[in-house]
Symmetry: D2
Subunit: 480 residues, 4 copies
C-alpha cells in the first residue's frame, strides 16, 4: 500500500476506538469532527495529501525495496549523503507547509522509528531484546503509513534527586506483570503531544541516573489498546475563526496524560524489557539522536524563517525599520537563522556511515543547535512582542469587521502599508504566535524539546571532544 | 455622599448607556452580567466593599475637609510624609486583594486626578486653561466616588519619526471644531484598559516631539457621552471556572479602542486646550508622575510578592529546592522584590513639599523602579515557567476532576506535598499568571506600563542629577 | 593615645620586621619606600591624616568611653540609628577620598573587629572560647589605632566537593600542635589583600560544609610574628607616573599568599579554637556580616558614583550623549547607583538592636546589595570600555607630552571639550579603572568580595523570609 | 624572489628609517632589538620561517603564475573552492602558531591587498582611479613578500553626528594639496596596529555618512616615507619573562597614532582619490569584505579553540568538572566554537565566482560570525576568570620560584593534577589572556575588530536577504 492521503488517514483514525478524555467527558464520535481535534487533523491530512501530489511525489516518497511501493520519505534509511539531503528537503517541505509550528509532524516520529530499525542490530543476542520486533513494526509502518506519537516524561510528583517511588502503587508507568501474551504495564506518563490522535504510541524511557529494571522497556502499541487512556488538557483553540486564531485553529496539537491501566503489550510489540544496560545503550548508541535531532533542527530552522518573516513584516507594516534598536533586534533573528542553517549543514557535511550502514548526520553540531534553539526561540517571541508593542493589545475580531463598526476600524486601524483588515490579520498572527495560550505552549515546547536545558548543556560538555584542545595548551605551556 | 460600596458602583455602571462593541455586537443589558465583564466588575465591587468595611475604614478612607464625608483615601492630597505612608498602606491593601494583578484598580486613576487637582494652580492665568474645571471635577469625583479610565496611546498607523497625519481625516483624536457648548473631538485612541467599564474617561496626550495644537488638550467626560464608542478586543476569559482560570475569571480587565465620533466635550469639562506649552508643562511639572508612579510601584511590589509566593510554592510542591539553579532563580525574584521595596521606601524618605503644598515622593528612585520592573517582571514569569517545566503543559480541567477519570488524576498528578487537586490548582495559577492569553497580556502590560522602555531609559538619563559626579571626577583629575 | 596620623602609621609599619617576599626577594628597608608599596602606603597615610584634620574630627572620631581619648569612628559600636548613620558618613568620607577603590581601607577591618567585640558575649562559657581576648584586642586596637588585614581563602589545590587533604602535610593553615604559650599553626592561606602591610593579621575560617576541628579557630597576630611569611604577587604598578597610571600609582593594594611556618599564636590572642560549633555560630550569629557588609556596600555605592562620573565625563568629552544606546548604557549605571543607595538606606531604616545592644543594620537588603554589586560592577566597567571605544587604545604617555611630538598630540588628540592633555588624562583614568592589570583585579575583587556569587545566591535564597508569601498563596488558593 | 624567511624580514625592517615615537623618544637603532617590539618581531619572524619550512612549503606557498617563484599563499587569488580551502588551511596554520592571538598576522593584510587587486577592474575608466597601481603594488608585494598594516579610524575629537571639522586645520588625514609628484596628505589617524613595524602602510577610509571628497582616497606607502610619524602607546609588556607574561612577551603588537605631516604620496602609489562614488563602491563591491572577514573568522575560530583548551585545562587542574555551572560555562564556549566553525564552513560551501573570476566566500554567514564573535569573546574571557576565581589573584613570579621561598610555593600552590610551577604557568596564561593589560586589549580588539557592534548589526539587517521570508508570510496570510 505505502503512502496514504489525508482522507485515508482520517478515516483510519476515526475508526479507532481510542479512549480519550476531554474536559471530563469520554470522546465519542469521529475524532475529526471533534472541535478540539478538527483543526489539527485537517492540517495533518493536508500534509499526507502533499506526499500524494504528483509533482511532489519524487520529493516526498521513495520506492520501498521490500515491497516496491511508494513509501513516505521520512521512513527512508539513508545510506549516502544524498539520501540525507533528500530527507532534509522532505522535512523542509512539510515544515514550510506549517511554518514549522507542528512539532509532531509525522516525519518526526517516522524518523525515530526508522532510526530504531536501522540500529536494531545493536540488540541482537541480548537478554530480553527483540530486534526483529522493531524491524517488523518498521515494515508495517512503511506499508501502512502509520502515524505515531511517543511519550517518555514521567509524572512530576517529586523532583528531588533522592526520591524513589512506592513500588506498590506505581505512578510512573512500569512493568507490573508479564504473562504468555506479553507485558502488563501500569502507571502513567505525564505528557504525550497528539496523544490519542495517532495510530500508535511508542513508549520508552529517557536514560536517567537511577534506572529500575521494570522501567527498562520499549514498545509500541495501537492507541486503542485496551486499558490505555489519554487525558487531554484544555484546548487552546478558543474559536474556529481562522481570522481570530490563525495558528491555533490549524496547529493546536493537544497534549495528554497517558494512563496505562494494566495495559497488555503483546510480545511481538516489545522491543526490549527488563534490561537496563540495553535500554541505556539503545538510546545512547543507536542512531536515534542523530536522526531525531536532524529532523527537529530542520523544522526549527524553517520555523525561524517563519519568525523572521513575521517580524520583518511587522516592521514594514508600522514603518519602524529606521530605528537602530529595531535593526538590532531583527539582526538577532537573522544571526539565529544563519547559525541554525550553518550547524544543520555542518551536521550533514560531517555525516558518516555508522556500523550498520546508516549515514548519520554528525551529532556535535546538532547538539550545539539543540542547545542554541531553546535559548533563542523565547527571545525571538519576545522580539516580536517588542516590535508589535501597543498594537498587540487591542485587536478586533472577525465579527467586529463584519459589523456596523467596520468603518471606524478601517479608518483607525489602518497601517502605513496595509489596510486595517490586513494589519489586524498580521497582528493576530503575531499574537497567536507569541502571546496566546497556543503561542506560549509553543515557546514552552521548543524550550524543552530536547529536554531540560541544564541537563542538555551538561551532556554536551561531557560528550564534546575536547582532548585535542587541552593537549594543545599543554604543549604550548611546555614549549615556553 | 463619599465612598460607595460595590453594589452602588455596579448599579451606577449598569445605568450608564455606554456604547461598547464586543465581538461585532453592541453590548446591551447590564454590564455586570455580560460574560466578558462580569468577573472584573465583581472584583472591582469587592474592592469598593473593602473601603466600606468598618475595620478598614480608617485605613481606606478619610474625612473630606470640604464635605465632612468619608472619601476614598486614594483621593487624599498628602501634605505630610505620614499622609504619603497612609496612601501607600491603602494602595497595598487593595493590591494585596488582587495579587497586584489589577493594573487599573481604582486608586490608580484616583491618584492621577488627585495629582491634577493638586497642581491645578500651574495653569492659572494661562491661555485656554481652566484649573477650576479640574478642581471641580476632583470635588465631584470625591463626592461620588467616581471611577475612571484614561487613554493616551495614539493609533499605530505609522511609527516612522517623520510621519505626520493627513489633517482632513484625523486618525489620532483631535479637536476638529469648537462652539459655545464646548470642543468637538474626532479620531481615535488605540488603547484604554477597562474602557467603557468606568464612570468617566480622562483624555489627554503624552508629551511628544511634534505636538500639534489641536492635540494639546485634556478633559474628562462620562463614558456614555454621545459619539463615544469603545471597541473591545476578544475576551481572554475562556470559561467562568475559577478552578480552570483562577486569574482571568477575576481580573481580566479588557482593553478597548476608543473612537470619538464628533464628541462634544462641554466647556466645564475642559482642563485646557490649544496650548502646547501648557500641555507639556502640565504633564512634566505637575505632581502627575510622582503620584502615578508611586501607586504603580507599590502595586508592582505587591505583585512581586505574589510572584515570589507562587514560585516558592511550586518549588516546595515538586520538591526542587535543593537544586542550585533553582535557588539562583528564586534569589533573582528575592533581589527584585528587595530592590522594589527599597526604591519605593527611598522615594518616601526623600519626599518633599512641592510649591503647591503636596508632599511629593521623590521621583528619581521611582523612575529607577519604573526602569527596573519592566525588565524583571518578564524574567520572573519565565522563571515560573522554568520551575513548572513539563508540569505546565498537561493540566486537567475542573470537569475532569468531576468525572470518572478522577481516580487516575488523584494518583498520577499528586505532588510531594499536595493532592492532585491542589497541585493542579497551583499549576493552573502558575499557568494563568504566565502562559495564558491573560498572563501574557499582563506581562505586556507591565513591560509597557510606564511607556516605551527605550524612551524611559533615555528620559531617566536626561533627568538624572549627574553634575556632582562629573565635577568630582574633574576635581580628581585636577588634583593629580 | 587614640587616632594616629599618617606619619605615625607609616613609622610604625616601617619598624615592624615583617617577612615579605616580593619577586623572589625578601623585602628589606622601609616598606614605605619600596616601589611596590609606596603608593598604597602614602594613600593610607592620607586617610589617617583625614581623621586628624580639625574640621573632620567630629565626623571621623569619637571619644572612647573607656579612655576618654579620640578614637577612629570605624571602631564605634553603634547603639542607635544615629550612631549607624554616623558610621556611614565616616565610611563615605574615606571612600570618597579614594573613589571607593581601596577595598581594604582601614574602616573595613576595624568594623570587623568592632563586630567581633560587640558579639563576644556569644562565646561566653563555651569550650575553648576566650571572649575576653577579643575584647582586649579591641581595646588595644582602639587605643593604638591598629591596622589590620584578614585572610580566609584556602589554597585552591582541588575544588572537588569530595576532596580532603592529607593531614600529615597540611596545605590549608591549621592547628598542628599546642603548648603552654599557645597554638602552633602550619599551612597557608591563598590570599590576603595588603598582606604584610598592616600591623596585624586577623585569621579565621569561612564556614564550610566539612569543617575540621583543627581549622575551627580565630585569632589575630602581629604581621611580624615569627614564622609568618607574606609572598606577594607581581606588582600591577608599572611606573610611578601618576599621569600614566592615575589609579595604580595610588591604590594598588597588593595581594599575598600567607605561609604559617609553625607560627606560635599566644593564648591571649586566641579567640577560640577546636570548637566547630562555636566557629560556625560566631560567623553566623555575631554582627560580623551586618557590619562588614554595611561598610562594603557603602564603599561600593561611592565607587558607583565614581564610575558614573567617569562614564558621563567620557560621554561629554567626545560628545556622544545624543546616542540612544549611550543614554541606555548610562541609565544602567544610574539605576545601579539608585538601587545600591536605596538598599543601603533600607538596611539602616530597618536596623534593630541585637541581644548585646548593638544597632545592627538589617541584613536582608544588604545581602540583596551584595548579590547585586558583583553583577553590575563588571558590566559598568564594560560600559566604560564601550563608551571609550577606539579611544581606549592609543593613549600617549606623560613623557610623550613632554617631547617634541607634543604639538601633534595637542592637535590630533584634542576632544570636543577638553585639551589633548586633559582628554588623555581622562582616558587613562578610564583605562586604569577598567583595562589595566590593576583595573581587572579591581573587577575580580568586587566580583568575589562577598564570596562565590553562586554560593551567595543560594544563601540568600535560604536565609530569605519567604514563608509569608507562600502562605498568602496557599490562602489565595483556598479562597477560590 | 617570493617568500622571505624571518631573518630576511627582520633585516629589511631594521633597515627602514621609520619615524617611531615611543614614550617620548624617537626610536633609534634596530627595531628588532627594542624592548617594546622585540617579542612581536621574533614571533612574526617565526611565522615567516614557517612558510619556508620544506614540509609546509606546499601548504604555505604557491608558484606565482607571473614570476614562477614561490609566493606566500595569503596572496593567492582563489579561483576555485579548493583554492579557498587551501587559503583557510594556510590561515589556520599561522593562527595555530600564535593561538589566534596575533590579530595582524601577515596573512590578514596580504588578503586585503589580494582582494583589492582581484577587484581592481571595478575602478577601470573612472575618474581619478588607477587600478593599474593596485595591480603593480600587488605584484611587488608578492615578489618581495612585503608586510603591511592599515589604518582607517579617524581621531575621536567629537563623535556627535552633526560635527564637522574645521577645514583649515585638518585633524582627520586628508588631501591638502597635490602636485606633479603626487598627493599631499595632512592630518592623523587614530589607530594602526603594528604601525611602524611593517614595510608598508595601506591608507583608505571606511565608508561613512558624510564623506568629503578630500577624504575619498586610497593608497599605500612605505613606513619610512618622509613626514610619516608613528606615535606608540605605552607597551603592555612588563617584563621579558615568558614565565611571567607568556602572551605579552610574544604577541604584544603595539598600536600607534599615525601622523601625516604633509606626506607626499607618489602618483604610482595612489589607487584613487577625490572620487566619493568610487571610494564607496570599492569598499562595498570589491571582494575586500569577503576575503578580509574570511581570514579574521578563521583566526578567531582558532582562537576559540585556544580559549576552550585553556578553560578546560583550568577545570581539570583544580578539579571542578563535576559542578553543573562549570559544565554550563564550558558548554557555552563549545557552542560558540561549533557556531564559528559552522558559519565559516557555510561561507565556503556557498562561495561563488564574482564577476572578475575570484571565488568569494559567501558574505552572509561571515557577517553573522562577525556579529557573533564580538559578543562571545568577552564572555569567554569572563568565563575563564570565573573558573580561575581566587586562583587568578596571587600568582608568584618566575623569580619567586627561583628563590628560597620555592619550597613553600611547591607545597601550597600545587594543584590536583599539576605541580605548583605548572599550575602557576597555566594560571599566568589564563591571567595574561584575560586580565593583563595585554589581555584586555585583546578583548577590546576583538570586540571592535569589524567595527562598532551597533553599526555592524544595522548593516547586517540591511544587507540580509529577507524578502522571501516576508513574501512567504504575506502568502500565508492570503491563504487564510
Amino acid at each position: 500500500m505505502g503512502v496514504v492521503n489525508g482522507k485515508e488517514l482520517i478515516d483510519r483514525l476515526n475508526q479507532l476506538k481510542t479512549e480519550i478524555w476531554f474536559d471530563g467527558e469520554k470522546v465519542a464520535g469521529n475524532l475529526s469532527e471533534h472541535s478540539a481535534f478538527k483543526g489539527l487533523l485537517q492540517t495533518k491530512a493536508s500534509l499526507y495529501d502533499l506526499q500524494c501530489q504528483p509533482e511532489l511525489k519524487e520529493q516526498m516518497t521513495f520506492i520501498s525495496p521490500s515491497t516496491g511501493e511508494r513509501v513516505g520519505l521520512s521512513y527512508l534509511q539513508p545510506k549516502t549523503k544524498e539520501d540525507l539531503l533528500k530527507r532534509r528537503k522532505m522535512i523542509e517541505q512539510w515544515a514550510r507547509h506549517t511554518g514549522g509550528l507542528m512539532g509532531r509532524s509525522p516525519d518526526y516520529l517516522n524518523s525515530v522509528l526508522m532510526s530504531f530499525a536501522s540500529s536494531a542490530e545493536l540488540l541482537t543476542g541480548r537478554e530480553n531484546c527483540f530486534p526483529e520486533h522493531i524491524r517488523s513494526l518498521y515494515e508495517l509502518a512503511c506499508e501502512k503509513d502509520l502515524s505515531f506519537t511517543y511519550t517518555f516524561i514521567t509524572p512530576q510528583v517529586n523532583r528531588s534527586q533522592i526520591y524513589s517511588e512506592d513500588a506498590n502503587e506505581p505512578i510512573s508507568a512500569q512493568i507490573v506483570d508479564r504473562n504468555e501474551q506479553g507485558l502488563i504495564i501500569k502507571g502513567a506518563r505525564l505528557l504525550a503531544t497528539q496523544g490519542g490522535l495517532t495510530d500508535e504510541v511508542l513508549v520508552f524511557h529517557a536514560p536517567k541516573l537511577f534506572f529500575q529494571s521494570n522501567e527498562a522497556f520499549a514498545f509500541s502499541i495501537p492507541s486503542d489498546t485496551k486499558g490505555l487512556k489519554f487525558i487531554c488538557r484544555e484546548s487552546f483553540l478558543n474559536s474556529e475563526s481562522r481570522f481570530d486564531h490563525p495558528l491555533s485553529s490549524q496547529y493546536e496539537e493537544m497534549d495528554s496524560v497517558i494512563v496505562f491501566d494494566h495495559v497488555l503489550v503483546p510480545w511481538d510489540r516489545v522491543f526490549f524489557y527488563d534490561n537496563i544496560k540495553a535500554a541505556n545503550d539503545f538510546l545512547k548508541k543507536s542512531s536515534f539522536s542523530p536522526f531525531a535531532v536532524h529532523q527537529a533542527v530542520t523544522r526549527q530552522t524553517i520555523k525561524t524563517e517563519f519568525i523572521l518573516g513575521v517580524a520583518e513584516l511587522l516592521v514594514q507594516t508600522i514603518n519602524v525599520s529606521e530605528y537602530q534598536h529595531i535593526q538590532e533586534k531583527l539582526s538577532e533573528i537573522m544571526i539565529g537563522l544563519e547559525t541554525m542553517k550553518a550547524l544543520l549543514e555542518k551536521s550533514e557535511n560531517d555525516a558518516q556511515l555508522d556500523e550498520w550502514g546508516s549515514m548519520r548526520p554528525s551529532l556535535i553540531p546538532l547538539q550545539a543547535a539543540s542547545n542554541v534553539f531553546p535559548r533563542i526561540y523565547p527571545r525571538f517571541t519576545e522580539i516580536i512582542q517588542l516590535i508589535g508593542a501597543s498594537g498587540m493589545v487591542s485587536l478586533p475580531t472577525e465579527k467586529a469587521f463584519q459589523s456596523a463598526i467596520r468603518k471606524d476600524l478601517d479608518q483607525y486601524l489602518q497601517a502605513a502599508n496595509k489596510t486595517a483588515v490586513d494589519r489586524t490579520k498580521l497582528f493576530r498572527l503575531a499574537w497567536d504566535l507569541t502571546m496566546s495560550s497556543f503561542g506560549t505552549r509553543q515557546t514552552h515546547y521548543e524550550r524543552y524539546f530536547f529536554g531540560d536545558p541544564i541537563r542538555l548543556a551538561s551532556e554536551f560538555y561531557k560528550d564534546y571532544p575536547k582532548d585535542d584542545y587541552v593537549k594543545a595548551i599543554n604543549r604550548w605551556l611546555q614549549s615556553e
